[in-house]
Symmetry: C2
Subunit: 451 residues, 2 copies
């Protein structure tokens, strides 16, 4: 049997990130200043971001060098393994070849550390002492806490209250790395106090927590804000995943027919996918790229392509993206990282231009896929990542039907060690499917700003 894991050496960690803005046929429309509704330039962003990241946000250079200090820390877990899923193939009885790129080998447990490290690095370099951010499921907060720890920055994490209560272990993990963790909405910010006035028992949402974290950063000169998804520079940093996967697929003498990843704000999908979009755009390949999202939060498949705010209070610049409306309140599904109303402008534009696909799946079907995967491959996947597994299993079963031996690559963005309550619910039969009612969506879309 061929090797199960395909490793690269540390010398093969990419030296540059790939910037898709150099190659995409249509660039996203520019972000707008939330007050003036005019295109936002770098000066609009300096209150919360360091100049290096702002320049990455607008750069059209194809390759952007990864700082040596960041590459040195990437060595903690990178290059991450690419795994040939021999046992999963056998369990499914499929002629397809299935590979997965495993980002759960990161000490933070997910792909989020790929961007947390450079964000902390550039802020440190700019003289910033403290970062504020939000976290939903906890993956991003864990990663930024760890990155701040490595660069000697303070870190304050506004954690969506329902997660704060349901996931005490995630909170502990952040505290181990020295972060301050605050349940959001909180009384620490004007935004938080407003949300609490409207509903003292609010379970919180990512959009609310973003409002709080942004306000925190705007108010203090020593503090910047850090976002774990959506923005262009975040997509950029994540491309180490796909670049490594390409080198590993080449070592395995394989190339994917389809690349599948879960998609919330888009950073994991962009990370593994954009280098293959590059191949399609510049080398004539025809890789299918599939973003898988929850039916309960179907941003690409049922949202609208429009300008919207990134947060509930309307403090962030307006972004051109697929959105469910900033006031969309997602159901309490267990894939907390996929419960965001918006979508990366880059991913949105590619989807709008027909360069990538999307599909939405039900919650029970993703846990069914997670169990098939865990029992075959041994790894317990995060609920978010299990969306990609569902997509991959569906493709593999279609191959079984058609007899085609396609090569499937999917991104396994993280492990589920802090999501065992979700598995408990599934195993005990308590987990419910939830599809978004059209009237709820229509109502949320009314919160879209008029441009």
């Amino acid at each position: 049997m061929s090797d199960t894991k395909i490793y690269l050496s540390e010398k093969e960690i990419p030296t540059h990130w790939y910037n898709i803005m150099a190659d995409m046929p249509n660039l996203p429309k520019p972000p707008l200043n939330p007050q003036t509704r005019q295109p936002a330039g770098p000066p609009d962003l300096t209150p919360i971001f360091p100049m290096d990241l702002i320049m990455q946000e607008v750069s059209q250079d194809r390759w952007i060098e990864i700082p040596e200090e960041v590459r040195e820390l990437y060595k903690i877990w990178r290059p991450s393994p690419l795994v040939r899923a021999h046992r999963l193939e056998k369990a499914l009885g499929t002629p397809a070849k299935i590979f997965y790129k495993y980002e759960g080998a990161s000490p933070a447990g997910s792909h989020k550390l790929n961007t947390a490290l450079p964000q902390a690095y550039y802020n440190k370099k700019a003289g910033i002492k403290r970062l504020s951010t939000e976290t939903g499921a906890g993956q991003w907060g864990s990663a930024l806490s760890m990155a701040c720890n490595f660069f000697g920055l303070e870190c304050t994490v506004y954690m969506v209250k329902i997660s704060y209560q349901q996931k005490p272990y995630r909170r502990s993990l952040m505290q181990i790395f020295g972060a301050e963790v605050i349940a959001s909405p909180s009384d620490r910010t004007n935004a938080g106090r407003q949300f609490l006035a409207q509903d003292p028992n609010s379970p919180g949402s990512l959009g609310m927590a973003i409002s709080e974290a942004v306000e925190d950063a705007v108010g203090r000169a020593d503090t910047n804000y850090s976002l774990g998804s959506v923005l262009n520079h975040v997509m950029l940093h994540q491309t180490v995943i796909g670049l490594e996967a390409q080198a590993q697929m080449a070592k395995a003498d394989a190339y994917p027919d389809i690349v599948i990843a879960c998609c919330g704000g888009g950073s994991n999908f962009a990370g593994i996918g954009f280098p293959f979009v590059y191949d399609n755009l510049t080398k004539g390949t025809k890789v299918r790229l599939q973003a898988v999202e929850p039916e309960a939060c179907p941003t690409l498949t049922r949202g609208t392509f429009a300008y919207d705010f990134g947060d509930v209070s309307g403090l962030t610049p307006l972004l051109s993206m697929y959105t469910l409306g900033k006031e969309f309140m997602p159901a309490g599904i267990h894939a907390g990282g996929l419960r965001y109303h918006g979508e990366s402008p880059l991913v949105s534009q590619l989807y709008h231009d027909g360069l990538i696909e999307a599909k939405a799946v039900k919650q029970r079907s993703i846990f069914e896929a997670a169990l098939i995967f865990a029992r075959a491959e041994g790894i317990i996947p995060a609920p978010e990542s299990s969306h990609a597994i569902r997509g991959a299993i569906d493709e593999a079963l279609a191959c079984k039907e058609s007899g085609e031996a396609k090569t499937i690559l999917f991104g396994l963005s993280g492990h589920g060690h802090f999501d065992m309550t979700a598995y408990d619910n599934y195993l005990s039969g308590q987990l419910q499917d939830y599809s978004l009612p059209q009237e709820t969506l229509d109502k949320a879309l009314k919160s879209l700003p008029k441009i």
Copy 2:
């Protein structure tokens, strides 16, 4: 800077386990039949173990071949990484070179899968349908559940009741892999019913759970018993750790002055240590080998070298080992995997013969070490593994004092993702040190059987 991680290819997974019984100057005294008190031969063990494992238990062959089916499954995570702890060295300001062998990369989260897989394999080969076992902290139960899943065996785990209640996520993990998990003491066995009659609120202990699991296996022809530590064949299987570490150290052009591992029943210590004892015994090296145990359960440092039972009820053969007495009830420290009254006969004999060292450490000092390590290296270690970290940090600080640049290798046996409650307690200042009072020890030692 030199590479952080030193990998081997899957082809470099050892083909044979190392059996220290071929080389140790004095073999342990033979196990005794619990009824007759006469040396127990293979026939005494056939009710609960398959013949292949029984033969490994008594073999004096130096190298025992690893079955191809087991090596194939080892590929899920083996060869495990050897890591040069550059950042930990820097944080300590030590001239020492620190390496650690990371077994938490296993999907079960610890080194336990190294022996769970061959045990499940040999039982399957012998026609057994079901395995029973016990688990304390949950590491062993997780590993055996996963191994049984891979080989299509049923698995019943008697989980120490206090762990069952405190660690629901460990239970979920076992259930994901299809195991039946029962809080021990339970009403499923005579032994369990007796313990409950004595104390309906008993928090359980490993010794009690072993009694239940052994009784379960003795009573059913389709069922064998499986033990995650102590026995010779378990030590044997774990030697893949040390054998890989030797190949990796050679790649890094290094050789350890001291090898450090935590030590409960002894399997992790034996795994990384025995191949270096082999070097000492046959190649003239002088590697120090240090077993680190909790002050609350100081089997080697304060126990007695004598024949004792492996379980509370006296169902198992009597083993020649360091023991605190089978009725020893350990304090509720968080290193659940190190709360066993006995010690591997092989490790015990080597310690008795002065071929290895041991030291005991306090609980708060191991969490202090764990935090230093996590913040430097990014990995949150299991409380058990943190005993080895404490040992390594102490050696590294001694080097700082003396100016010596020793090479330190320690075994990081597992991650702490399912032990966050312990970290919470430490961070909130609630964690207490506990040293075993002499009178408690004296009382427990009275339970030693008369031979």
